[in-house]
Subunit: 168 residues, 2 copies
Amino acid sequence: MFTFVRKGLFTMDYQIRPALKTDMPAVLRLIQQLATYEKEPDAVEITVEDLENDGFGPHPIFKCHVLEKDQEVVGIALFYFRYSTWKGKTIHLEDLVIDLHHRHRGYGEALLKSVIAYAATQKVRRVEWAVLDWNTPAMKLYEKMGASILEDWNIVQMDRTQYLKVLK
Amino acid sequence: MFTFVRKGLFTMDYQIRPALKTDMPAVLRLIQQLATYEKEPDAVEITVEDLENDGFGPHPIFKCHVLEKDQEVVGIALFYFRYSTWKGKTIHLEDLVIDLHHRHRGYGEALLKSVIAYAATQKVRRVEWAVLDWNTPAMKLYEKMGASILEDWNIVQMDRTQYLKVLK
């Protein structure tokens, strides 16, 4: 386990740590907040129980770091491994969310750095994520941190209703 | 194990089956062919040994279906699980490749269907993948099959050189 701390002159301002099962209600609240920000408020079908089972069972399928301030979770970075046929094992950052009332304090960058620090320990060849093309503040942050933004890929999706039709 | 067969009037034309470790040289050849098609011929850093270790160890991190014709692997679909914070477990199709000399025979669609059939057995809420925005034949196929193409997301990447700089 690790913690990242950012120190003020004399005091610790916040803590970043791996999420615990008991954080999942707070994590879901931030997931829902992001969905609303991304103009898809009804898209979240997942439940706290899903997150608890999927992230903390015998074979966890995601990892999550939380940023805690004054004993409250105000930011999350949720990620997992992917596999590139060009580069091998990579880390995919699925969600990076800072609570609306705690923006513009460098928390997003600090959480992203915590994921990158984990990536370095795993020696993956790449860290990647997706960003909505109108989310200018996020894209500016990523570019400032040295990331490449690829604009020539489209994402293709089939939800269950769509893919079951293919099998008919 | 399963096989998909497509029958001509009297004969079996090809077979789709889960990849074996011994298929990995053929799989890498097709991965390289796709990278060249995608105008990134030097991007493939992965080796046959990587594919063998990553796909066939105690904890395989990808799955692969191959399309075999006349005892030769002429198509691959390589995929793995991802995790959506909205939908839960999903399947991501990383690479769908048909050998250049075997195009326009419905092999791509057949391989995609084999992945979708697997997705249905796993009850995932979504199957997804990425497509280059100039790859019109591929996009037409996906739309014909009922997929949604999302154009408002950009992909953000940091390779190891980029992300190590962030930690300095």
